[in-house]
């Protein structure tokens, strides 16, 4: 596809054919090589054809081919003339990342890291088919869908301060469960408080580089060697089923004729079906917030048990990667409320936004970008410029470049474990084939992804963390 180069890190697919707006790609020459290898750009062009899209169909630096929208796709829609699309959110609704800081230093946990990992493994169910600790009644599940992480805190998992440090304060207020199907509820009931599988993980890390000491300090990151904990998971089967259900409901209502891709199926945002999906999606978002809140609580329990204390293990932040939200943005001097879809992208609100915690309002929200298994992850800060450049969005991770199939052919899980052990990183998993699938060589270089984010002004570098112990589902 013909790309117009705007700068070394910004590219455009000019408006053509059915496109209502151009597509804007934040990428380097190097990352573009991978992006051009799959359907990412075609999918970005398809998104640009959707009704009510504002300014651009955006592609983040870690983008790869998705369903309907690319992963790393961002699009804002007018509330009256625009749409909402389950394919613009993805199957794992509110897949996201939570980061805890601590007062521990690397040397405090080095000797105990095997024990920490073993205990976490006992506390947090992980892997395919692993159920949660409690079988939830329908009434409790409905409560969770409405109240999200607030439910978890009310029930003894963590503190009210955790809610301050969670996107949406851990609860999307537009959630309703009247139109969440029985099947979604049935799939969600046994899975609350579980990590899941695939690319989901839990890591003990140490801060290995600080790029911006002032902002880092505001985020609770004080020094190199400081221990952090990262939790990456989502809404499990409940969210997957909400997505599946509404793709079906929308295509039954609107048909699939004329869609370049069936997963671009959508409904006008303000239509009855559009609103049912939006409210159900918010319910799935809340489930995922509650999920990460419970897991964070168990992590603190384990630190207390193994190391004698868990003081100072407060949250840096919890961000969504797959979500549609109603947000107010000032773009080109015009203030406007839009329905923004971020699919495999992170919100990156800059200083001054009222939605972010008071403690971060001077520096911008923390943006947490997990790397691939065993490599570095990054903490960035949202920027004011991102509002003009990407409706306040940036990358969400490394992004795959190699198929799971190919990764399994090339790597062995046990070998990866041994290699990591030689570098001082403990790895524990339920599934060695799953570990091979997640080999870091199967992913893009996260360093290059965050460099582009930083240089494009979408999210600025604050700190880098590297793993000490990794738990994989």
């Amino acid at each position: 596809m013909e790309l117009r180069k705007i700068s070394d890190i910004v590219w455009e697919i000019p408006r053509q054919g059915e496109m209502k707006v151009p597509a804007l790609i934040y990428s380097s020459e190097r990352l573009l090589k991978d992006i051009r290898n799959d359907l990412t750009l075609t999918q970005a062009r398809n998104v640009a054809c959707l009704p009510g899209i504002q300014l651009f169909s955006y592609v983040m630096p870690d983008a790869h081919q998705g369903y309907g929208f690319p992963i790393g796709g961002v699009a804002a829609f007018d509330l009256d003339s625009g749409i909402i699309s389950p394919g613009g959110v993805g199957y794992d609704i509110n897949c996201g990342v939570r980061l805890l800081r601590s007062d521990f230093r690397e040397q405090d946990i080095t000797a105990k890291r095997k024990e920490l990992l073993a205990e976490i493994f006992k506390e947090v169910p992980a892997g395919v088919g692993k159920g949660g600790v409690t079988k939830l009644s329908r009434g409790v599940l409905r409560d969770i869908l409405v109240k999200g992480a607030e439910w978890a805190v009310e029930n003894g998992y963590g503190t009210a301060e955790d809610l301050d440090r969670t996107e949406e304060r851990g609860r999307m207020r537009d959630a309703a469960c009247d139109h969440v199907s029985d099947r979604a509820m049935e799939r969600g009931a046994p899975q609350l408080g579980t990590l899941g599988s695939g690319n989901h993980f839990l890591e003990f890390q140490k801060v290995d580089r600080i790029f911006d000491a002032e902002v880092a300090r505001a985020f609770g990151i004080d020094a190199e060697g400081q221990v952090t904990v990262m939790i990456h998971c989502g809404s499990r089967g409940l969210g997957h089923q909400v997505a599946t259900d509404y793709i079906e409901i929308m295509e039954n209502k609107a048909g699939t004729e004329g869609l370049p891709d069936r997963e671009l199926v959508n409904a006008p945002f303000k239509s009855e079906i559009g609103q049912r999906y939006y409210k159900s999606m918010c319910a799935a978002v809340n489930y995922a917030f509650a999920n990460r809140q419970m897991i964070a609580h168990w992590v603190r329990d384990v630190f207390k048990k193994v190391l004698g204390r868990s003081t100072g293990m407060s949250m840096v932040y919890d961000v969504c990667h797959n979500v549609a939200k109603v947000e107010r943005h000032t773009v080109g001097g015009v203030e406007k409320t839009v329905c923004i879809h971020r699919k495999g992208a992170t919100r990156s609100f800059g200083p001054g936004r009222s939605e972010i915690p008071a403690a971060y309002r001077a520096v911008g929200q923390p943006v947490i970008i997990p790397g691939s298994m065993g490599t570095a992850s990054y903490i960035l800060a949202g920027t004011r410029e991102a509002e003009e450049r990407s409706f306040s969005s940036t990358a969400h991770g490394a992004g795959r470049v190699m198929s799971r199939h190919e990764a399994v052919r090339r790597f062995r899980g046990e070998q990866i474990r041994d290699d990591l052990a030689r570098r001082g990183i403990e790895l524990k998993s339920t599934n060695w084939k799953g570990v091979a699938e997640e080999a870091s060589a199967a992913y893009k270089d996260v360093e290059e992804v965050v460099r582009v984010s930083h240089e494009a002004g979408l999210g600025r570098l604050v700190a880098r963390v590297v793993p000490i112990g990794v738990m994989k589902g």
Partner: protein
């Protein structure tokens, strides 16, 4: 060959074959199961009846394969085989009253196709080996083709599942 697993950047992709559409659907079910466990090693101790409807073949396939994911998530049911798969076409199939497994909000469909089958399999146990999780069945790159090209001798189904 019943099916083959194909490379895909982020997820699971396969092609399933069959002399008839029904055979190809049944083999697509085994291909989906193969992404999670070795279905040939699962004892067929339990049986589940499947009854799904769709507005077209593609939607019918998404819903049919979705049953494997649903039964695993809710009952820990691991598929080992598919029996008596039938696909019936009608001008309009009405959702039967009081059938609990068809959510109310899906009954607006006016579905044209109905699939019935029996799933054989076993419940997950401590001894079960699982090597992957399928989250959802997608329409991405989906193809259901007959009697042309690679599908000269019958049907070819291509599916990408989210993992």
């Amino acid at each position: 060959m019943r099916y083959e697993i194909l490379p895909h950047t982020a997820d699971g992709k396969f092609r399933a074959y069959g002399a008839t559409l029904e055979d190809a659907f049944a083999n697509a079910a085994l291909a989906t199961a193969s992404l999670m466990w070795d279905w040939a090693k699962i004892e067929p101790r339990i049986e589940r009846s499947i009854d799904v409807r769709g507005r077209d073949r593609e939607q019918l396939l998404v819903k049919f394969l979705g049953e494997i994911v649903y039964l695993f998530d809710t009952e820990r049911f691991m598929l080992s085989g598919v029996k008596d798969l039938e696909i019936e076409e009608a001008s309009v199939i009405r959702d039967p009253q009081g059938e609990a497994d068809v959510p109310d909000h899906l009954s607006e469909a006016g579905a044209r196709l109905r699939l019935t089958a029996r799933f054989l399999g076993d419940a997950l146990s401590d001894r079960s080996e699982i090597h992957g999780g399928v989250k959802a069945v997608t329409y991405n790159e989906m193809k259901i083709e007959c009697c042309a090209g690679a599908a000269k001798a019958g049907y070819v189904i291509q599916v990408v599942v989210d993992m």
